[in-house]
Symmetry: C2
Amino acid sequence: MDNRAIGVFDSGLGGLTAVRQLHRIMPDEHIIYFGDTGRVPYGTRSRQTIINYTRQDTAFLCSHDIKAIVVACGTVSSVALGTVKTENTIPMVGVVKPSCYTAMKLTKSNRVGIIGTKGTIHSGSYEAMLHTLDPSVHTIARACPLFVPLVENGRFSPDDPVVQLVVEEYLAEIRDFGVDTLIMGCTHYPLLRAAIRAYLGDEVALIDPGAEAADYVRTFLEPAEPGNGRTEYFVSDDPDSFDTYAEMFLGEPAGVHANLVEDIASYGKERG
Amino acid sequence: MDNRAIGVFDSGLGGLTAVRQLHRIMPDEHIIYFGDTGRVPYGTRSRQTIINYTRQDTAFLCSHDIKAIVVACGTVSSVALGTVKTENTIPMVGVVKPSCYTAMKLTKSNRVGIIGTKGTIHSGSYEAMLHTLDPSVHTIARACPLFVPLVENGRFSPDDPVVQLVVEEYLAEIRDFGVDTLIMGCTHYPLLRAAIRAYLGDEVALIDPGAEAADYVRTFLEPAEPGNGRTEYFVSDDPDSFDTYAEMFLGEPAGVHANLVEDIASYGKERG
């Protein structure tokens, strides 16, 4: 048994979709969550800045007693994980590989769609992994830059006309391409699941990257003892606002009381 | 004559609407612009974080030889300027006061609308200033949280159906209130001028806060010598992307080559 915590981080709230799944399948784990709400979003920033922020987020989590890190952010997993992993000894799990494994298990038509932030789609991370798993797969990828601001503003209802219009704009080509599986490649996007489902129809499988990363972690991690379970939340800005919105990401009455990290940019300075 | 530079800053690109006006009316000035593109947007962050970021932005500009600072950001002007002004000896001009002066000069019906970020509208800064200038003024204010992400994604055409839908949603109450003057209280919003005009009609005066701040600066600043004019640009992330988008804010072929500021969070540490 290993009672050390599992560290989880994201640019903001999205990574809570991974915590939600960890709560379901590993209720005895101590989880330490960090949301970089003072610098969200990551998906529109440059590669170097995403790497710098990832180093600091990782250093913050490593200042606690943890046994692994779940990178619950599609952008970081796509753009920075390869670099930052080599600089740390702690096991780090991103969302790309687990999502792609599940996509290849589910697809029957061998036609898989990917949506994500600009940074994620530009990196080609999901396509590369899918093609590694099966060179014959047909993929289509589309950046959806307005999805994160919509979700961060609480706009994800399938009845919201702005949401409907933006979903249609971003997903029209993907629907026409005839995918039977869609990787919602940013941890914010599962909140738009109902709106995406309304547009694509029930026959398209929708893959939640945070949940997939959580499932994958369980396959190799030495578990904690029964009764060890608790979750601590840390953010770089506005804990009150985080507490308010966290429930909608966690999908449960959460009683979240996040702690403020005052100077996230000062962590990991020694790595420069 | 005073050839020292004018410092201008914003969370990102929006403040270039002030630079555009400075170029027009004070072509001999040396301008140093800082856009905090590594941490944009400010409008959804907490008061304390906006103050911290403003201290760092101000300290960066003060590391150059400047004679004044234009705070070309509605959120900073509303939330942080009062605090940070008292900590510095350099003259600092925000967008709120100049915009309100012009609004009260232009309105005939005494009914003035204000739009801005969540932080700006929550602060009540524009209403307070308008009521100081004329206690009988009738005001209506509305936060427009999707406007900045739309503009930052290049979405501001009056023919864009998403823009049309969001403009209608945010401005319906303001139109019904019967304003004859609207303060576009965030320096990003003037890019949406055509879409706002299409919805509100030609009879509503639209006030550009960056341009108003630039006009106000001219009234008190010791000018530079002829031939001194040049502009230097600094950003905290992705200079290439800044260069690409800058022209649409400046409204001129700009030939912008921004410089990267690697660690904006390290400026002004001594003020803690």
